[in-house]
Symmetry: C2
Subunit: 416 residues, 2 copies
């Protein structure tokens, strides 16, 4: 006979993921672990929210937090405030936290984890990064040995848009992503790379036990990418992905930017709204974890796994925070391969002028494509490994040439 | 200040993985978890084994098991006996177990887990399936919701051989795998699919809490596959992989066999000695986990993650064993698409005869390739979904046709 452990939980915020949690709980899925999860109270700011039968709706979040019978608070409202206040107050009242909130964690992790430790409470945040992929659990429990790098496709909206841009323009691809629910009405947070940046900050934190503000991460969005770049990339044997990269060299590189990924690399096969995290460990070698990065049920699955693990007595032991600021590599010190696209007058000597400037800055060319016809034609170049500071200087000079029109497009190449 | 928990462990069997464990422990990797792992004693049957300084070598396994200061026994000898005896005796003496032994687990899981429960001890066996991929932890902790299917490339040797067979014959591919250490001198256990079968039994056990003997799993090895099949598969848009498949329909399908995998499927990109597990969950949707499936350090990483998790108080709570035998689908009841290759006389009417027989058994043809020249030529056919019992009957009849030489080659197509 299984003896069920009973646990009362309270839910703050019942949007898409919250509804998913309610639906999954109703299937009694935790029974096989010998756990009875009782969703005792829900608080949602929208009083017109769809009500589930048999669940008590609280007047406000405070009522859920103050309920002495509730042991775990599931915070699904997102954003900085009032989420931070609710989380801290819940911990103060000795309640465990399960959250899907990447924003509040990436910004206030030191405060939240300090409070949790002080009160001896657990924080489950599997749902905050990459929805259904248990990347938090994997990093905290399954790779105790040294990690050399983490590369993630951690934003489904932009991956969907970039996948679709092989057939259509950015604007149409974005519209389709919005129509299908893979991009927000205001997509700026995703397409500017900031969503990826917050997730990278969390991955870095749990891998290295060092907190960095997401504003310290070098970030570029996907708006510079055109359908034409995707076509040239294809021709050169690459696809373009928005990657979140943590490279744990002596001075860590932390960067989010569109990246040329060789088609032979596993990350190149991650399409549409899927997410993936590619980890290279000293002992493990390369590994990749992929799945749905968002959505009602995939994210709710992560929330419920956190609840069950907390009830089973597992706490997420974050490696001790090092209370120091660390030096992060300036992007001008990156040494990578680069893709340039210039728009140049179609006349003799142009290539020579460009090559001369590149030579001055010690940038050597790996391949060139120039094939279209017209007054101005695109010239696409791939370089060997070069210092990014030099690349910026060279590009600036090249853009000033009379034969060059407008700005150059610069995309980094994946080096792992 | 971190206060270290100290734990004494004993190692039984110090072959490749054991040496990896010693090497990783010497790097002090568990320190960030606040844990000091002290490898107190090693027992190895080979008295000439390379000795590490500062570690005590026991006369035999019993001496390690009987040491009252040792809290965790790491069993790395493999095979059924004496591994089973050592594991049970260790549990009896209230020592936790960490093992990489898929054979003993797939055969004696009910006995081992019952004893562990009785003695309130933990068993870590992350290293027993897919080396560095934390598939045990993921299945036990991260997907509490319903799993619909698990498809794995869980044997590195055969995956290496099949990858190489695109360029060379089976014999040469096997030799290369052996030379590189990816296949055993006697490769029969791998190439006959039995290694995959044992791993599938473990994955099924922890997913569904039901024990099945590995002999209940329908198993075919890779020896029927030829370079020619790989070439035809390529032309048809597929690659061939040895897959371990658990399909959790009402009557579960459990099968290991070479499979045509569409090139659009993520599993098709898993090459050489890599492993991968593709899981489709009701809530999660499809997910894939990939990495090194074997090797000194990747497997040692898994062993050490188990040790750390046990010290941190996490026990692998296997879902309650259901003490019942379950019905598994007979392979003649599979309904799949199939690839056939016949060697047929190159004369008019042959295709009609084959098609007639297929028609009688309700097998409809999706595509045909016949293009080589000679007295006997290969005919390759792909079918729509058909009942395997019928397919077997039809093939038997076709093989008896005067115009057909030898046996037909039959390969199943991935249906998930």
């Amino acid at each position: 006979m299984i003896k069920y452990k009973n646990v009362n939980i309270g839910l703050i915020g019942c949007g898409t993921v919250g509804v998913g949690v309610v639906k999954l709980l109703r299937k009694g899925i935790s029974k096989k672990y010998g756990i009875n999860i009782n969703l005792k109270k829900i608080a949602d700011i929208n009083k017109k929210v769809e009500k589930f039968k048999g669940i008590e709706y609280a007047r406000n979040a405070e009522e859920v937090i103050n309920d002495p019978e509730i042991e775990i608070i599931v915070e699904l409202i997102g954003g900085y405030e009032p989420a931070l206040t609710y989380i801290l107050r819940s911990l103060e009242k000795k309640k465990h936290i399960v959250t899907a909130n990447k924003a509040v964690l990436s910004e206030f992790a030191p405060i939240i984890f300090k409070k949790a430790k002080q009160k001896n409470m657990s924080i489950g945040f599997e749902a905050s990064v990459c929805g259904s992929i248990p990347i938090i659990n994997i990093l905290l429990e399954s790779i105790p040995t040294n990690i050399k790098s983490i590369i993630g496709i951690v934003n489904g909206s932009t991956n969907y848009i970039l996948t679709k841009m092989r057939e259509k323009d950015y604007k149409d691809a974005l519209k389709e992503a919005q129509d299908k629910g893979f991009a927000e009405r205001d997509p700026s947070f995703d397409i500017n790379g900031l969503d990826s940046t917050q997730k990278l900050a969390i991955l870095f934190l749990i891998s290295k036990g060092v907190y960095i503000k997401s504003t310290q991460i070098y970030t570029e969005g996907i708006t510079i990418i055109t359908k034409r770049d995707l076509e040239y990339a294809e021709e050169l044997g690459y696809t373009i992905k928005l990657l979140a990269i943590a490279n744990f060299s002596r001075i860590p590189e932390l960067r989010v930017h569109p990246t040329l990924v060789p088609k032979t690399h596993l990350l190149s096969s991650i399409e549409y709204e899927d997410n993936a995290v590619y980890i290279t460990g000293e002992a493990t070698g390369p590994q990749m974890y992929t799945g749905k990065g968002a959505g009602m049920l995939p994210t709710a699955n992560a929330v419920i796994s956190d609840i069950i693990n907390i009830v089973r007595g597992k706490s997420y032991d974050i490696p001790e925070f090092k209370n120091k600021t660390i030096k992060i590599k300036n992007h001008r010190d990156y040494k990578l391969e680069y893709y340039f696209r210039f728009l140049a007058l179609d006349k003799p000597g142009v290539l020579a002028k460009i090559s001369n400037i590149l030579g001055i800055y010690n940038i050597s060319i790996a391949s060139v494509i120039q094939k279209e016809k017209g007054r101005y034609v695109p010239i696409v170049m791939m370089t060997h490994k070069s210092l990014e500071g030099n690349v910026y200087k060279a590009i600036k000079k090249i853009e000033k040439l009379d034969c060059i029109k407008g700005r150059a497009n610069l995309i980094r190449v994946l080096d792992i």
